[in-house]
Amino acid sequence: MRREPPQTFGDYSPLLFPAAMLTIFFVVPFGTMIAVSFFQRQQGGFYTPAFVFDNYARFLSAFFGGVLGFSLMMAIAVAICCVVLALPFTYLLTRMARRVQIVWLVALLSILSLSEVIIGFAWSTLFSRTAGITNILVALGLMGEAKALTPSFAAVLTGMVYQAFPYTVLVLFPALVRLDPTLTEAARTLGASPLRAFFTVVVPALRNTIVATLIMVFIFALGSYLLPQLLGRPQHWTLSVLITDQAIYQSNMPFAAAMAVFLVLVTLGLVALTVIAGRKGEAA
């Protein structure tokens, strides 16, 4: 269907409500945060309007640079793990009977209803020495003695992947359902084993969806600030943890705001790069 581009101001009126919401709930708070990031901090937890770069300058240290790098690396790892796990899972799910699909989707949706705190404590119990899964392995004779798996990087990664996995499946599901099942059948008649058909047809045909999902999970994982504290050591703390720490416990709003702004900028930059790379790949 071909549509006329909007002509008059009235044609844009359906956009007014979302535009207003976006302004009130995103542009204004974000603008405030940018402003605060340039304010002068006062001892005792207050700040005064000013235009200083102190907050950004303080941020540009090896320590915070390292945390930023770790946060990005962690988010990328979570995004990749989620997509690598969710893509075959969702593909197989779309090929199952309707009833099976519903059971799985309800189970995944119920994970979404869990708060980060509950997920964190549940996994820290599961990874503990006294009550954790290693006890099962010991009972099965696969391990000598029970040990604690947390705090560790792997524990943080597991928790975050667990948290983001349902989102990943829900984003991939519609695209995979819409994918014509005869495409894989055609690939099989042309000599591809089911596995090769998956990698040579399903994955490339869904390239754009996969990239979009990676970006979504990446951003989702960047915002996680409880799981790294519950399941990791201080060196596994992400920038979000430090921002929370500065904003709430150190009462240093301007510095927290500066870190948040910086994180947003870096994230936007990475997303833009991904999109540009995606376009290039498409043209090639």
Binding site: D180, T182, L183, E185, A186, A187, R188, T189, L190, G191, A192, S193, P194, R196, A197, T200, V201, P204, A205, R207
Partner: protein
Amino acid sequence: MSGLALQNVVKEFGAFKAVNDVDLTVPHGTFVCMLGPSGCGKTTLLRMIAGLDLPTSGAIRLDGEDITHVPTHKRNLGMVFQSLALFPHLTVGENIAYPLRIRGAPKEDQKKRVEDLLSMIHLTGYADRPVSKLSGGQRQRVAIARALAISPKLFLLDEPLSALDAKLREAMQVELRQLQQKLGITTIVVTHDQREAMTMADTVVVMSGGEIRQAASPIEIYRRPADSFVADFIGQTNLIEAESDTLNHVTVLGQPVPGLQLPPGAAKATISIRPEDVHLTAPGGGALTGTVTFVRDLGGTIETFVEVAGRQIVAVSTPRARPEVTVGQEVGVALTPDVCVVLRK
């Protein structure tokens, strides 16, 4: 034996038998059209030949070897789907080269083969186009070329031409037939268009309710249909009840037809006579007597509807051979015994 053989193939979906005990031999190089009403199991049968579905029981043999349990990708076949199933992320050339790439053919060979195939389907120079930028007929050809890229042992097509308009469809039927004759590949086409089947096939397989009703050459199917379903499904026909007395004198619609014979021992049978074989004459002289109820002049042919003892009989003739009849006139309907087909019950 070289060729394809289906032996007692059955496919059940739950309690429902989609394909019921199908036996069929297709000699190497034959062009087979499977024809039948919607839901009669044609696609199911084709998918089993391709290995996309597993038969509930029975065997499928290719060149004497049992391939019933050989996975699809090891069968070396080419299949064109009704939706065509061209890969949207690949260009025309990459689509055609896909089966070669999967088999690890060298890049130069792939390129050469793609060029040969493109010239075969009259699309030279289209290799770098995205498939989304092709017309329906061009896509059709690309799907055919992709299926033929490895010179398959079996070429399967599921209603390949149904999405095309009538003109293009007829042109593609001729092209497909010529291509198949040139390559000599055993080909099975599913269709529900009987004209298409008559145009292309060496063997027409008429199916209904999951069973094969008749498998024979198009002309034999047309001239000697095995039963009333086939007679009615292929072309137009008049199905008339005939009765025989103990002395084997046959009467049709209460009037004697000298020379017509029913199988020995049969008191009743249905006979099929094609409209173009019905000749209208003057009443009497061994012909059935009836009344003209309607004349449809289509320019190229004329259809005359004659009512004989409450039954409608249609006669088709060309304008030149046209008998001078008008509605309400009493005419004779000559049933020449050698064009009447006595159908088995």
